[in-house]
Amino acid sequence: MTTKQSGTYFPAGVVEEFLPRIGRVVEIKDQQLAVFRASDGTIFAADNHNPHPKGGPLAEGIVSGHYLYDPLYDWKIDLTTGLVQAPDNGQVQMYPVKVENGQVWIEI
């Protein structure tokens, strides 16, 4: 788990601003995050940097449950841990998210 701890929570809009299963880029303090709203309502915030050596974004990937298929190289990433699934290797930096009264907060 590479989730940064003890940061500050920033308000990143309301839940409705994130379409179900369609990622959206959120910029906080010069950090580009890819934010996903899963079908069950869970919100994930990932560093918007593809773990593939060629890089690129993650936000436009296909979301399935709590997994993401990256848009450029089709790597499968577990959004709960950021871990790239076999046969590929790597990890995406994930950021803690909390939702209160429909407001999304991301910890940086």
Binding site: V15, I22, R24, G41, P57, G61, V63, D74, K76
Partner: protein
């Protein structure tokens, strides 16, 4: 947030109400939703209660929306709270303790209650209905303490309850007023077979018995019948029927017959109040099954969100009994009358029975017992009131010989069909362990999957599957599913979608038992394509199931910028258009302008947030350079200018491109049109290549200059332009209907065979016309995607623009 949200109140926290809410959430966020439910639980799957009783599922297993779901969507849920009245003057609903909540719109989804026979003693301890979790818990408790139970009512619910109690170790007698079990769903023949089967499973029956009194002190001790006989029992389940729960509607002065009266848009007699599910009465019918509720909910959701929708015109209902090892199915009209033509086949040795009823030679109903493999197909045929033909008769009833048609019925059994009802093992699982783990005996399959371990009733079927898999064509390679989430192939999936009328990727994956509930990057786009191909008019395209390029209507590059390719019909442009392309490229600092391989211009390196502006300023249609769709139509100069040209290839190319653009296809699709046999536009490496000659056109198909080069095959020659267009349409539609997602025509032609394709689209004029009609129908429903995006400002911002958070927390 924009503006004030409308307050939507849902009375009833069950399947009908919440599935309607789910549909609404897909369409809009403009409602502030509050749900009231009498039960102390979130929404659970009432249909599965029989399995909870039987012990194959737990209460947690059957929850459909847990409390987190309500929170995440900002829905306020009041469990254990009953709304008693709607005060329409004050625009408030009133709960039993007098609390008031304001509303703008209401959906009543209160379902129905068990009908308890009003006989003396009906209120004694140990007498329950079978309707909810509480009833289920009472039954589970009773089975621990008592031995003898009676279920009053031999309908679907009663039999499921009886079977559950037998499983729990009780002695169970089903008491039924009529002479036939499930007389509302089955004909006497199937009823008799069902009774015999259930007796074999340990249920006792008392038929034609009218309950007149429940005996005992505090607690029930027996049942007295109208003929004065007595049955001693310690526990009674009433399953004689349900009645719509209309209390709140009556209390509020709404129009109520047996159920709450609604029109074709689920509108009640009270303004801003709608109703859905078992509590409603639509055109005089109250439904007590789940399928109509979803159909009603879908229409109500659209209507309430102001989205255009067809009216609800009632449902053709069908019945399946959820008892392990007993397969019963019925749909439509199934009781013979003089006006019906009856086709039936009964087999006492196999214990199977099949009956199909026709009126004016149209299929109007069916009953199946023992072997319900054809249920999905029959349901579809009956829903569409299909004419019976020799061919259909042959496939449904076996052709003459008194024998059964299928050498093996397991061959046509859907992969997700449960073979072993005791342990929930599907045909797909069994096939999978045979092919992938090399199992060769029933015992091995039993050890590995649990199939045949409990009652053993499915052993013959498991043996048949084993024989079928190891026997013939199956022996070597395992059957490949379309991806790792399923073992079903493309044709099976498409057939299931058509038969069951599935409408979303989620529904497909759910119903067909995907191993990943929301699929993967292989199957999601594929299923989305199949759904759209099957129902071009009603399928709602799922952006979230599309690859990035098709979702964004632009090609993503490795740095996350995009490429924009406007249409240039037939590879021809104008100076004015070129100037506009140049101006926009300068203004938006496009990194490179490149001529593509298909006679158009690539504007490479547009930022995601600039895409919609670039489209708006170009004011040209999308060239679909990113899509599994018609991309380019390459042309030579042709007869307009060329000294050798015999046909006007530029005009024909542009005409074909305008005609067929924007339609989803299994894979990208390229054309070339040539004015003469010199073939300067290289027709031999295109999906459809067209070569003009001095008396018409020659059509080539299946060419590819890409990853696996293949020269196109000559399909046919035609004389007129109209014939050319019609053949192009028929070829494309046949490819749409039979191609695997992502399969190029070069592979498709080899898989289907050129001769076969020719026999369908060239030789069979009727089929060609029909294909053309279907593609025309699909083309009526396409829309220019760039303009559509520009018009939808809200969707646009969520899809194309990020959120910038100020650095202060």
């Amino acid at each position: 947030m924009n503006g004030k949200k409308e307050k939507l109140v849902i009375i009833g926290n069950g399947m009908a109400g919440i599935s309607t809410v789910e549909q609404i959430l897909k369409l809009t966020t403009r409602f502030d939703i509050t749900v009231f439910g009498t039960e102390p639980y979130p929404n659970y799957n009432r249909i599965m209660l029989s399995y909870v009783l039987e012990g194959s599922k737990t209460l947690d297993d059957i929850v459909l929306n847990d409390l987190h779901w309500y929170q995440d969507y900002g829905i306020t849920l009041h469990t254990g709270t009953t709304v008693t009245r709607i005060d329409s003057d004050a625009h408030e609903v009133v709960t039993e303790d007098g609390t008031r909540f304001p509303y703008d719109k209401i959906i009543i989804a209160t379902g129905s209650n068990s009908f308890i026979l009003p006989v003396p003693g009906h209120d004694k301890e140990g007498v329950v209905g079978f309707r909810d979790i509480a009833d289920c818990n009472v039954m589970l408790e009773a089975a621990k303490q008592y031995k003898r139970a009676a279920v009053i009512g031999g309908g679907l619910l009663g039999l499921e309850a009886a079977k559950g109690l037998v499983q729990l170790g009780m002695e169970v007698t089903v008491v039924h007023l009529m002479q036939d079990l499930m007389e509302r769903q089955l004909d006497p023949q199937a009823s008799a077979m069902l009774k015999a089967e259930l007796e074999r499973q340990g249920i006792r029956f008392k038929m034609g018995a009218q309950t007149s009194e429940l005996l005992g002190g505090e607690r029930v001790e027996g049942i007295r019948f109208a003929d004065d006989t007595v049955l001693n029992v310690d526990f009674v389940v009433m399953a004689v029927g349900i009645k719509p729960n209309t209390a709140v509607a009556r209390e509020s002065g709404m129009e109520v017959n047996r159920g709450i009266v609604v029109d074709d848009y689920m509108q009640t007699s009270l303004e801003n109040v709608y109703s859905v599910g078992e509590c409603t009465e639509h055109r005089g019918v109250c439904y007590g099954l789940v399928a109509p509720l979803f159909e009603q909910g879908m229409i109500l959701a659209k209507h309430i969100c102001g989205v255009e929708t067809a009216p609800y015109e009632g449902s053709v209902v069908s019945t399946k009994l959820k008892i392990s090892g007993v397969d019963v199915f019925s749909t439509g009209e199934f009781i013979d009358s003089p006006e019906h033509t009856v086709i039936s086949h009964k087999d006492d040795w196999k214990r199977t029975y099949k009956k199909i009823l026709l009126r004016d030679n149209k299929m109007v109903g069916a009953v199946l017992f023992g072997d319900i493999t054809d249920s999905a197909e029959l349901q579809k045929l009956i829903k569409q009131q299909t004419e019976m033909t020799e061919e259909l008769y042959g496939s449904l009833m076996g052709t003459g010989c008194g024998g059964h048609k299928k050498a093996t019925s397991v061959e046509t059994m859907p992969e997700d069909e449960i073979v072993c009802g005791c342990n929930g093992v599907t045909k797909g699982t069994i096939v999978d362990v045979i092919t992938n783990q090399g199992l060769t005996t029933v015992d091995e399959i039993k050890a590995c999957t649990g199939a045949t371990r409990s009652c053993g009733g499915c052993k013959p079927v498991v043996e048949q599957i084993l024989q079928y898999v190891l026997g013939d064509s199956f022996s070597s390679g395992a059957k490949q599913g379309i991806c790792g989430c399923t073992s079903m192939g493309r044709d099976e999936i498409v057939a299931e979608i058509r038969a069951k009328g599935l409408q979303t990727t989620k529904e497909v994956m759910n119903v067909l038992g995907w191993s990943q509930p929301e699929g993967c990057s292989k199957c999601r786009p594929a299923i989305n394509y199949y759904l759209g191909m099957i129902a071009p008019d009603t399928h709602e395209d799922e952006k979230e199931s599309r690859f990035v390029n098709e979702r964004m209507n632009a090609n993503i590059q490795k740095d996350g910028t995009y490429t924009v390719v406007p249409r240039m019909y037939g590879g021809v442009t104008t100076p004015a258009d070129l100037k506009r392309i140049a101006d926009v490229s300068v203004k938006y600092d496009v990194k490179a302008v490149k001529v593509t391989g298909g006679q158009r211009l690539d504007l490479i390196g547009v930022k995601k947030e600039d895409l919609t502006k670039v489209w708006a300023e170009l004011d040209m249609p999308s060239g679909y350079a990113y899509a599994k769709s018609l991309r380019t139509v390459k042309t030579c100069v042709g007869s307009q200018f060329c000294r050798f040209g015999t046909q006007d290839s530029m005009a024909m190319g542009a005409r074909i491109e305008r005609k067929f653009e924007r339609l989803d296809l299994p894979a990208k699709f390229k054309y070339a049109v040539n004015g003469c046999p010199r073939n300067c536009a290289e027709a031999c490496t295109k999906d459809i290549g067209i070569v003009g000659n001095d008396g018409g056109w020659e059509i080539f198909i299946g060419g590819n200059g890409g990853i696996k080069a293949r020269l196109a095959d000559s399909l046919c020659k035609v004389k007129t332009d109209e014939e050319l267009i019609e053949l192009c349409g028929a070829i494309m539609q046949y490819y749409r209907e039979t191609g695997n997602y992502l399969e190029r025509t070069s592979e498709w032609v080899e898989r289907m065979g050129l001769e076969h394709i020719r026999s369908v689209v060239v030789d069979n004029l009727e089929e060609r016309k029909a294909l053309m009609q279907r593609i025309e129908f699909a083309l009526e429903h396409v829309e220019e995607p760039w303009q559509k995006t520009i018009r939808n400002e809200e969707g646009q911002s969520k899809m194309f623009h990020g959120i910038e958070v100020s650095a202060r927390p």
